[in-house]
Amino acid sequence: MSALTIDQRPSPTLPHVRIQPARGLLDLDLGALWQYRELIYILVWRDVTVRYKQTLLGVAWAMFQPVATMLIFTVVFSVMGKIPSDGFPYPVFLYAGLLPWFYVSQALSRGGTSLVGEAPLISKVYFPRLILPLSSTIAPLVDLVLAFVAFLGLMAWFGIIPTWRILSLPLFGMLAATITLAAGLWISALYVKYRDVGHILPMFIQLWMFVSPILYPVSKVPESWRALYAMNPVVSVVEGFRWALIPGFHVDFMMFLPSLAVVFVVFAGGLIYFRSMERTFADVI
């Protein structure tokens, strides 16, 4: 919270906190985030635990969902729709894209609603509010890992042996998390103020899927549109995942630059916006 300055005087040993109206936009107070790291951990743990409590399949859902979606989409878009996949088996091509997309859509819908969903908490307890969108972004990573395990099975089925490139996967995973957090900061803070966001969000996520190369290859996008298309950061994530998982998959890394710039701007703007809105969360929510 930008309103606080922790004064670490040697004596007296009691921590001193000064409460005052907030000033400045860029006081990120990451120290407070570090202090509350256990809360982040426990919220992530809670989200993961609660999600599969009292379900018959339990954690298997994290694998079942993407696999089932992959099968249906394969029938609809490949078998019936004849959508190409750059010469790779469509199920593998599709699943490699669905893998990060499932994560992004899930983390986004949870992160976006993380503040409003925890309204009682916000109006009753102090903690750095950033923890809520942050932990909602981290929790679905567990599902991502499980869905990845299912992907290994799929690769084995098609007799595909991963190369060293698979080691770069965490990097693209982090990129996906950063994008989601960047968008989540904006969406969650806007949602506190404008309840329309609750209606817009699912639509927004669906649209986002269609402007990302999940069902179709980037090669199907007209050349003249590519530059604009590359502004979508999810393009980089999906292409990165495919590059890391599918041997022989070709990626134009120059396409990554615009999206990295976009991520940076959205993330920095989101942090500033979140921080400035944070002061009024408890009053408005």
Binding site: P15, R18, I19, R46, L121, Y126, K193, D196, V284
Partner: protein
């Protein structure tokens, strides 16, 4: 400087009244508003929202180890003050310096998740309240024992009764070890025995040298635990200092209906030559108060007016108190307690002086009756409400059991215990606890 725990300096909090209704405002409204603004020359000024100061220039100091009570009506700013001190919301102006770790219990059970078990919720809740996992692990057994839900510790809390839920939540909160504890109405929950356990725990906490801030509507709790208190009125400090004085000030401040509008009543029975015009509830010093306090002296003043130029002999003026369910609890009547003849004429009043009001806290009703020479002159049922604030009647720090609010007459008594088995053992005298 080092013995100060909290120092608030001119804390103020400003709210736009729009805020509350704005929370469900939509993006569409916002955009439309902007558009409308644009069409006007110079953009037009958005009409300013009415606003108010929830807190205004609040300054006070709390010494380390002090237990401070905060009282006031709903909307006086108590919760806002606690929210600022616990960093949930920010002040608009002013500063507060806080020395030491703060834990606030603005509501027990915050962050409990119904799908998780009691055990899991202990860890979750503790983390939210700022306790380290290591610390929770160390105190886990103690917390469970305090809550008394050992058997159900691995059951999801959605299957708990509300009592169990609250007990578990309070148990976690009670085992926090901050230097400064902020508590809001925690004791409004749970059954009587658990409330007492909580009260004991709070005393223990305050004795252990920790600083405690308590907001409560229960004057017993405030009087029992706090040496000093603050009375907030409309966002300002109306009174600060000795708890007893502040509590009296609070009772003064709740000016209710008592003593108003009786003249306009038409639901009277009797000849009507003598009319009751007003009832005042007053403290021992005959200052009108809106509420009496359990165990304190109270004066009930009945104002009357007689038909012009007439004198009424052998009069009886009486007032009875009805409980919550309308049952008669006791009657105060001029003739019973003192048989001297009472003659009324013109206008005047009769005071009933009740030492140590023996009623539990709550809302009661008066019933008034005036007669002369055996003829009913004026009889009004439910003539006025009578509010009583609960306080410590027996001086033991304990309240009457729940369910007796506005329903119970307190009597002085003592008890002894004896053993049936042997005749030569003297009864054991109950010790005052």
């Amino acid at each position: 400087m080092s013995d100060i725990a909290i120092k608030a300096d001119c804390l103020s909090k400003h709210y736009r009244l729009g805020t509350a209704s704005r929370q469900h405002n939509t993006l569409r409204d916002h955009l439309m508003h902007r558009l409308r603004g644009l069409t006007r020359w110079g953009g037009g000024r958005p009409e300013s929202n009415p606003s108010f100061w929830a807190l205004k220039d609040i300054s006070f100091e709390v010494k380390r180890g002090e237990v401070l009570g905060i009282v006031g009506h709903n909307g006086a700013g108590k919760s806002t003050l606690l929210k600022i001190l616990s960093r949930i919301t920010q002040p608009t102006t002013g500063t507060a310096d806080i020395y030491g770790r703060v834990s606030s219990l603005l509501e027990v059970g915050t962050g409990f998740h119904s799908e998780l078990s009691g055990r899991e919720n202990i860890y979750l809740n503790a983390a939210m309240l700022g306790m380290r996992r290591e610390e929770v692990r160390r105190k886990f057994d103690e917390i469970v024992a305090f809550s008394g839900v050992e058997q159900f510790i691995d059951t999801p809390v959605k299957r708990y009764s509300s009592g169990m839920y609250v007990r578990l939540a309070f148990a976690v909160a009670a085992h926090l070890e901050p230097e400064i504890l902020i508590v809001d109405e925690v004791l409004a929950v749970g059954d009587a025995s658990f409330q007492q356990k909580c009260l004991g725990k709070m005393e223990e906490v305050s004795r252990s040298g920790r600083t405690v801030l308590i907001v409560s509507h229960n004057m017993t709790v405030i009087e029992g635990l706090c040496e000093r208190a603050i009375l907030l009125e409309k966002g300002r400090v109306a009174k600060i200092g000795n708890t007893h004085e502040v509590v009296e000030g609070y009772a003064d401040a709740i000016r209710g209906l008592a003593g108003t509008e009786i003249e306009a009543r038409h639901d009277r029975e009797g000849l009507g030559e003598i009319l009751l015009t007003r009832i005042d509830v007053m403290d021992r010093d005959k200052h009108p108060v809106a509420a009496a306090i359990t165990g304190r002296d109270v004066v009930i003043r009945m104002h009357y007016r007689c038909a012009a130029g007439k004198e009424f002999k052998n009069c009886r003026v009486s007032i009875s108190v009805n409980g919550r369910k309308g049952q008669d609890l006791f009657v105060l009547s001029t003739d019973i307690v003192d048989p001297k003849p009472l003659t009324l004429h013109g206008e005047g009043y009769v005071d009933f002086i009740l030492p140590e009001l023996p009623l539990t806290g709550g809302a009661y009703f008066f019933q008034s009756y005036i007669e002369s020479n055996g003829h009913a002159q004026d009889w009004i049922k439910n003539v006025a409400p009578f509010s009583v604030l609960d306080a410590d009647y027996y001086g033991t720090g304990k309240l009457c059991p729940p369910g007796w609010e506005a329903n119970g007459v307190l009597v002085r008594y003592r008890w002894e215990a004896g053993e049936a088995r042997s005749t030569d053992v003297l009864p054991v005298h109950a010790r005052a606890s």
